[in-house]
């Protein structure tokens, strides 16, 4: 039976956003099934794959492991908030130019996670990129082109090219 819903206030992709959610709904469910922001993907619903990665108060989290009610007062960035009306984010552009996606289902999670890395560390090594993104699974690419895309984006964002 449906439980009594809780009123939650957040900042979502820069906008004040309120929603009602049940106590057993994850943030991922809220994003996808309540707010219809389906860019954040469900791959495993148990914190293994990283497809549901969002940035919550400056930290990347698996949104399937966060309850919707826990997001009260949080500032959340999802894939829908990465591009601007002016255009794609350099990481998004680098993913396209480096052919870093095949089916593309893991891509939003990788982009949100990569953005957090490059904001913290503008010039990560290949090893650092692999370590940071080890929580995001991709089954199509073998990761090679994703690593290249993130390093490429770092160079672009650092003004190196």
């Amino acid at each position: 039976m449906a439980a009594v819903k809780t009123h939650v206030r957040t900042t979502l992709n820069g906008e004040a956003t309120e929603y009602l959610c049940e106590p057993n709904q994850s943030l991922l469910e809220v994003l996808r099934d309540v707010l219809f922001l389906t860019g954040t993907k469900e791959g495993c619903n148990d914190g293994n794959c990283g497809a549901c990665t969002v940035n919550m108060d400056g930290r990347i989290v698996d949104s399937c492991l966060v309850l919707g009610v826990e997001a009260e007062g949080s500032d959340i960035l999802t894939i829908e908030g990465v591009a601007t009306p002016e255009g794609l984010h350099p990481i998004q552009q680098a993913f396209l130019e480096n052919a870093a996606l095949q089916c593309g289902i893991c891509t939003p999670g990788f982009i949100v996670a990569s953005k957090a890395l490059l904001e913290k560390e503008p010039n990560p090594s290949e090893a650092r990129v692999r370590h940071w993104l080890a929580g995001n699974l991709c089954r199509c690419t073998g990761y090679d082109k994703i690593v290249k895309a993130v390093v490429d984006a770092a160079n672009t964002m650092g003004g190196k090219k």
Partner: protein, 764 residues
């Protein structure tokens, strides 16, 4: 690298940004799991907790009484589908078995087998309702291993099943009448195996085992279905073949195929696993009962336990060679666990096993054995990774006995055009030897390993690829762009590669073609997005429609120039008068003149191409093995593959890299752990252990372009074969590093430590 003279192309061979790119990097692309409809209910499946059990009764009354629950369906609600075997792209399937796999009837045949489905207002209510369905099971002894299942005294999973003997792959077979868990027995025979072994100076015979492995696509199976009041059914899902699934739905639901529409949404990976139907059927049945659209998605555990992984195999391989390094004979016995229903990929495995080599005497016995595990499904070059693993490991041992470099040994025995495969078919033009020679010439081959406990391994592979029908249509827009409608779900960038061939034909940019994937009511028949066939066959369809359009436009130009169509020609994107050279108009200019010369032009075509060029590949890998922990680090990896004419360079390379990564996972990490009751103990990604970014190095490629002579653009399937060689290459590299031959996959650290302890114990 290009190995033979190739046509000069402007668009083909480049790497434009994919047409669906912006949608996929911004989260706007709608995948099957993302679909939502007003008034939609959520469905969930109740699955058997037992690997083998009789279903004595199902009581759903408590579930139906739960507020928010709308309906329950069970196997009793299912029609009995026809007992007919059909070819389904890469493996065969039987409608009745498929139906019984979608929902168990009298017996649950594996842990995770669906026994009931419920529709409710929310997912959580549906989950609660599952716990309220009472199923009375009589637990039976499970059969959990192929070789065990072949024995006479084990329980029969399907009491009436008899063994069929098949002379070739997809052969309907001759019924032996013997009741057995062995559903099929096949034999490939070439030459005289006894004479071949007599000729040999060295013979190596070994046994091998591999575990069940899953395709591991990140998007779980899902389906949203609406059974309308007029009995038209619409299904929105992510599939590898809408037309095939439409047929499967029609057979299982006993519903006219014309009243089923499959709408392909974006697909989050498949690798063969999204060919069959699973949730589509109960979702439609629940929609019929409730009048609402019903959406169902699987959890990751359900994906592991309830969909089709690749078979585990128990195999023997025996190969002989002369002192001077010529392979004289090869024998193999392949026992594949089909899962709960017949139809493993053992036939394809046999066909691919020794096919990279020219061997005159071959005998391969294949067994398709039913066990109490999920029904196996296609997985990237189905059956071939398993079968090539023993072949490549034994060939490596022979090379050592003969005293040849493993790559030289393969080059010496490489199959060439005109040589016969084990099934007697002669090889067409292909680039097998070129791949091996390209690796030999590579910097990787010439490099030093640079440390102790390091080793290098090589292995080759073959995959036949498929053709299958395709349809597409184009409409020429007044601004000189082209709308291109396709019917093959795009799983890895095919919509761009197909658009590129269209652009090439018209002499326009890839960006000027706008591809889209249509539902089954909106385009002609398309085969599966499988068998590495999508770009190949849609390339044929594009070739047809563009040629037809060019002829129609020639007639328009002729009208403009007041001449006959045969006096107009087209080359490099320009229509010109053969007589008066100054009369010429580009494709774009002509597109703007269609309305004034007779109206718009659109063309549709359907093709059923044969002549899918086979794939050949050889991989080389350097590893370092930690003798204390058994951990294998991959230091360097190079895959050389004949990719035919590359359409989209980066997506071709991506296919090679992606398959390689899956093969590495298969070799080193991935495994279904079962207990003795048939319970899978590791049904999550990281316990199952798919490779993460930290597990893999950069994956280097050598893309050999030997165009397929049977395709207008020279396309050869590229997507599957790269999963084949890593298993053998890594086993051979581990041997080169630390001297142990690993013959049981995965080559997990604990097994390597044990093997090293045994080796050192013996040598001390």
């Amino acid at each position: 690298m290009t190995t033979v003279d190739k046509k000069k192309y402007k668009v083909i061979g480049t790497s434009p940004i994919r047409h669906d790119g912006a949608d996929k990097v911004t989260g706007r692309a709608v995948y099957g799991i993302d679909y939502h409809m007003p008034g939609m209910l959520w469905g969930k499946i109740l699955r058997s907790p037992h690997a083998h059990a009789k279903i004595k009764s199902i009581d759903a009354s408590k579930a139906l009484a739960l507020p928010g629950v709308h309906a329950v369906v069970t196997g009793k609600d299912m029609a009995v589908a026809a007992d007919i075997e059909v070819e389904a792209g890469e493996t065969s399937l039987n409608y009745m078995h498929l139906s019984d796999n979608v929902m168990a009837r009298d017996k649950a045949l594996y842990k995770g087998h669906a026994v009931a489905a419920v529709a409710a207002d929310t997912q959580h209510i549906a989950e609660e309702a599952l716990a309220l369905i009472d199923v009375d099971y009589e637990v039976l002894t499970p059969v959990l291993n192929g070789r065990e299942g072949m024995k006479a005294d084990v329980p029969l999973i399907h009491p009436d099943q008899t063994t069929k003997v098949m002379a070739f792959r997809f052969d309907p077979g001759t019924d032996t009448g013997e009741k057995s868990n062995v559903a099929g027995r096949s034999q490939l025979k070439l030459g005289d195996i006894d004479a071949g072994f007599k000729e040999a100076d060295f013979i190596v015979e070994r046994e091998f085992t591999t575990s069940w492995v899953h395709q591991g696509y990140i998007e779980a199976q899902n389906a949203t279905a609406h059974w309308n009041n007029d009995d038209n059914i619409t299904v929105w899902n992510s599939s590898q073949g809408t037309f095939n699934q439409r047929q499967l739905m029609a057979e299982i639901l006993k519903h006219p195929v014309s009243q089923i529409k499959m709408v392909p949404l974006e697909i989050g990976g498949g690798f063969g696993g999204k060919i069959p139907v699973y949730l589509e059927v109960p979702a439609a049945m629940l929609s019929k009962k409730t009048g609402h659209p019903v959406k169902m998605t699987m959890t990751r555990t359900e994906v592991f336990e309830g969909t089709g992984p690749a078979s585990a195999a128990q195999m023997k391989a025996k190969v002989g060679a002369t002192k001077d390094g010529r392979i004289t004979a090869a024998y193999a016995e392949l026992v594949f666990e089909a899962g709960a229903f017949p139809g493993s990929a053992v036939g394809a495995g046999a066909q691919g096993m020794f096919t990279a080599y020219n061997i005159e005497n071959i005998l391969i016995d294949g067994y398709d054995v039913v066990v109490n595990k999920p029904k196996s499904a296609a997985y990237r070059s189905p059956g071939t990774p398993q079968a090539c693993f023993p072949a490549e490991a034994v060939i490596d041992e022979l090379a050592e006995l003969v005293g040849m470099d493993p790559l030289d040994f393969r080059i010496k025995n490489a199959a060439k055009e005109g040589d016969r495969r084990a099934d007697g078919v002669q090889h067409p033009e292909m680039g097998n030897l070129e791949c091996m020679e390209a690796l030999k010439a590579s910097d990787h081959y010439k490099s030093d390993l640079g440390g102790p406990n390091r080793g290098r391994g090589v292995a080759s592979g073959y995959w036949g690829n498929a053709g299958m029908p395709a349809s597409c249509s184009i409409a020429i827009n007044a601004d000189g762009t082209v709308s291109l409608a396709e019917g093959s779900p795009d799983i890895g960038g095919s919509r761009t590669s197909i658009a590129m061939m269209c652009a090439e034909a018209f002499g326009i940019a890839a960006e000027d073609v706008h591809p889209s994937i249509k539902d089954t009511d909106s385009i002609g028949y398309n085969g599966l997005t499988a068998g590495s066939s999508t770009t190949l066959r849609n390339g044929w369809a594009v070739f047809e429609v563009t040629n037809q359009a060019i002829e129609l436009i020639k007639a328009r130009a002729a009208r403009l120039w007041e001449t006959e169509p045969e006096n107009v020609d087209f080359a490099d994107g320009v229509f010109f008068s053969k007589a008066e050279k100054e009369l010429k108009l580009t494709f774009k200019e002509m597109a703007g003149k269609l309305m004034e010369t007779g109206g718009p032009i659109s063309v549709a075509a359907s093709v059923a191409p044969r002549g899918a060029g086979p794939s050949f590949t050889t991989h080389m890998v350097d590893v370092e093995v930690d003798p204390e922990t058994g951990k294998v680090d991959i230091l360097r990896y190079t895959a050389a593959q004949d990719v035919g004419t590359m359409i989209h360079h980066d997506y071709v390379e991506g296919q090679v890299q992606g398959g390689t990564a899956q093969g590495i996972g298969w070799a080193l990490n991935e495994e279904y752990f079962y207990d003795d009751k048939g319970q899978m103990l590791n049904s999550s990604y990281l316990d199952y252990r798919v490779p993460t970014m930290l597990d893999l190095p950069m994956l280097d490629t050598i893309l050999v372009e030997h165009p397929n002579p049977d395709h207008p653009f020279g396309v050869r399937g590229v997507a599957e074969i790269s999963v084949v060689p890593p298993l053998g290459a890594l086993a051979n590299a581990i041997y080169a590093a630390v001297g142990v031959r690993m013959r049981d996959l995965p080559m997990a650290p604990h097994k390597i430590v044990k093997a090293l302890q045994e080796k050192n114990g013996k040598t001390k």
